[in-house]
């Protein structure tokens, strides 16, 4: 198998491999996904399969449709056609909160937190639903030891415990990015989508963020959009290249690195 084969057969191969290896459906499986905004076709037939426990990166030039793809998978927008399966079950067209409850959680490219609430409350909001908090208005929240323990644990992991009482809006940019990841993982979702988690970070901050991502994605399935190639190649088990709404290649980092097609379409213009 070479990296230069077209996207569709590659994805099919991935599916087969997963089926043989685990005899369970892939964590995430996308078939023939299309999204039009009016006459503009943004996603033009994406096939993608992410095996359970895999760290999968989606790369591509600006405007390729990476964020739209994430918005489709996470339920923020509804696909025009095609199918999205989470652990073998279709979540196509389902509202975002239902997809989240089925174990898929995402972060945002632009920091998307609860700015007026404390750091502690930000993380706790993400812990509540999976721990049975639901919409309860007859039960206290502060005395829930389980929720508090998990919140404490997440804040420790993202290294924001010392900042827990200040409003999230006054955190530094890098801290807000860490909080963004914390909110995303706090609920314990087993499929995590990260949209450019290191965008705008310094080199040192990026290194810490990658370390954090590596740690929290342990034992989970990760789909990540990232522009920083050192992050992508250092982190991902597999990489898919999205260009103009289509996946032109999907494979291991080595395969992608050596793919002439990818070089031509993407890496070539990015090579510094």
């Amino acid at each position: 198998m070479t990296a230069t084969t077209s996207a569709a057969p590659m994805s099919a191969a991935t599916t087969d491999r997963t089926a043989v290896a685990n005899a369970v459906p892939p964590a995430l499986e996308i078939r023939g996904l299309k999204k039009n905004f009016g006459p503009a076709e943004i996603i033009r037939g994406v096939d993608l399969s992410v095996a359970r426990g895999e760290r999968h990166a989606v790369i591509g030039p600006n405007g390729a449709g990476k964020s739209t793809l994430f918005n489709l998978i996470s339920g923020l927008i509804v696909p025009t056609s095609g199918d999205i399966r989470l652990h073998g079950e279709s979540v196509n067209g389902k509202p975002a909160y239902q997809i989240n409850r089925r174990g898929l959680s995402r972060s945002f490219q632009v920091t998307n937190i609860f700015a007026n609430m404390s750091v502690w409350e930000n993380v706790r909001c993400a812990v509540l639903w999976p721990r049975g908090g639901r919409y309860a208005f007859w039960r206290g929240v502060d005395n829930n030891a389980d929720v508090a323990a998990r919140t404490h644990q997440v804040l420790t992991e993202i290294n924001l415990l010392s900042r827990k009482d200040i409003p999230a809006g006054v955190l530094t940019y890098a801290e807000q990015r860490a909080l963004e990841i914390g909110i995303t993982m706090a609920g314990g979702a087993d499929v995590i989508l990260l949209d450019e988690p290191t965008a705008g970070m310094s080199k040192a901050e990026t290194e810490r963020a990658v370390e954090l991502i590596r740690r929290i994605s342990e034992g989970r399935t990760l789909l990540i959009v990232e522009h920083d190639m050192s992050v992508v190649f250092g982190l991902a088990d597999r990489i898919s290249v999205l260009v103009y709404g289509e996946i032109i290649a999907s494979g291991t980092p080595t395969e992608i690195r050596n793919s002439a097609k990818v070089k031509e379409a993407y890496l070539g213009e990015e090579a510094h």
């Binding site: 007026n116 502690w120 706790r124 509540l128 919409y135 929240v141 502060d142 508090a148 323990a149 409003p167």
Partner: protein, 445 residues
């Protein structure tokens, strides 16, 4: 919307170090919060002993009703970020259902005391909020506000059509003293009604505060801050808005029920646009970002409404100016202003503010006197033109069209503005110094 929440509370009682010392922390916190409630109960209990006049009792009763109403409104505005222009609908419907229930109890001689009647109003408020909220909470932001306005118009106009229920222009009346007595209280005298209202007020404050400390209450704040993000932590923001709207209707209905017991009357004015505007004003002036803000707002606004109207005919103008000033210069309201000083107080740096603040009293008083003089003279010359230019204010008779009065007015204003610029500089320096101290101690960022 962002201005409304910009000063908002980072929950007053965020549990600190839940793992480290859970028992000690919560036990202390419990005593602290119980102390607050006991203090509040003591104030409500002793207020009629301090303010004994009939007017004071009436005003305090109205304050109690307004506190519940404003807090219920803030469940939408401050807690969930929903700006409703029609909250009086649930207040008014609560009032009407209560008064009809009271009359039914009187007619059929049921052994039910008036004390429980606000519950009927609460249920009515809840049911109608669940009904109307089903439509309006499908949208947020401006669309929600517009729908709330439309629904208010709908109910307002139906009150003139359904005369058998709403009683047309004269409304529906009752006699609260005819219900079952409790011991020798028939709730006829105002002081007994005051205690009835105070009891419900305390209960509702405690319940509404408790609501903010539940998973639902926390998610209300999350929806307010960022509705989109709540979907990605498993919550449907629409459901959160719907529950908030329904429960706000419940408490508004209780307030309406108390109002009808207080007035022994229910008419269309109870759910008019003025009433919806009043509750918005009280909540905003008090401060929507903090739980206790609407309590301050309800007390202040009710007091001013009843006192200012005795002093001046254009009290609504002063009211409007106060509202505009709050929106422009203190978007966090009274509560926001108070809470701004909390870290400085804890840092022991509050004394640094005193010189500047004391100095500010001078220009503030001058500007206020000048502005009041200006407004009252114009009012006298335009509204009361028939009475001639001579008017009386604060016991002084003068010619409102004369040069001396206008010179004094403009001179006072000008002096006030000039001194203001100097004094505000001193105040700002004091503020910066105090902030620096607080920042050093890690009490602010």
């Amino acid at each position: 919307m962002s201005e409304i929440i910009s000063h908002s509370a980072v929950a007053p009682a965020t549990p600190s170090a839940p793992i480290a010392q859970p028992s000690a922390q919560s036990a202390l916190g419990r005593i602290g919060s119980y102390g607050l409630w006991i203090g509040l109960a003591a104030i409500l209990l002793t207020a009629p002993l301090v303010f004994r006049s009939g007017t004071a009792l009436t005003v305090m009763s109205l304050m109690g009703i307004m506190i519940i109403f404003a807090l219920s409104y803030n469940m939408l505005l401050g807690q969930t970020g929903m700006l409703s222009f029609g909250h009086a609908v649930y207040f008014g419907l609560g009032a009407y259902f209560t008064i009809h229930a009271m009359n039914a109890v009187i007619d059929s001689k049921l052994a039910i005391p008036v004390v429980v009647m606000p519950l009927i109003g609460g249920v009515a408020g809840l049911v109608f909020a669940m009904l109307f909220g089903w439509v309006s909470t499908k949208r947020s932001g401006t669309a929600f506000s517009m729908i709330s306005l439309g629904l208010a118009e709908l109910v307002g106009s139906s009150s003139l059509i359904l005369r058998s229920f709403f009683g047309g222009e004269e409304g529906v009346s009752t006699n609260r003293a005819k219900l079952l007595r409790i011991f020798d209280w028939n709730f006829g005298p105002q002081v007994q009604v005051y205690y009835l209202i105070a009891g419900w007020c305390l209960l509702c404050i405690v319940l509404m505060y408790a609501l903010t400390r539940t998973p639902f209450g926390r998610m209300c704040n999350a929806v307010r801050d960022n509705a989109e993000r709540t979907q990605f932590v498993g919550y449907n923001p629409r459901v959160v808005r719907y529950i908030a709207f329904s429960l706000a209707g419940l408490f508004a209905g209780i307030a309406g029920g108390l109002a009808t017991i207080n007035f022994e009357l229910a008419n269309a004015a109870l759910f008019g646009a003025t009433q919806s505007g009043n509750v918005l004003l009280a909540t905003y002036i008090g401060g929507a970002g903090f739980f206790f803000g609407p309590i301050l707002g309800a007390v202040l606004v009710t007091f001013l409404q009843n006192m200012l109207s005795d002093v001046t005919e254009v009290w609504q103008l002063y009211f409007g100016l106060m509202f505009i000033a709050t929106v422009m210069y203190a978007p966090g309201g009274l509560a926001g202003l108070i809470m701004m000083h909390r870290p400085l107080w804890r840092a022991g740096a509050i004394a640094k503010l005193l010189p500047g603040y004391l100095l500010m009293i001078v220009p503030a008083a001058l500007v206020a006197v000048g502005a009041i003089l200006l407004i009252e003279m114009i009012t006298h010359l335009s509204v009361k033109a028939a009475e001639g230019p001579v008017m009386k204010m604060a016991g002084i008779t003068f010619n409102a069209a004369g040069v001396p009065a206008w010179s004094l007015c403009i001179g006072t204003l000008a002096a006030g503005v000039l001194i203001w610029r100097f004094a505000s500089g001193v105040a700002a320096r004091g503020w910066d110094d105090a902030r620096a101290v607080a920042r050093e101690k890690g009490l602010t960022v």
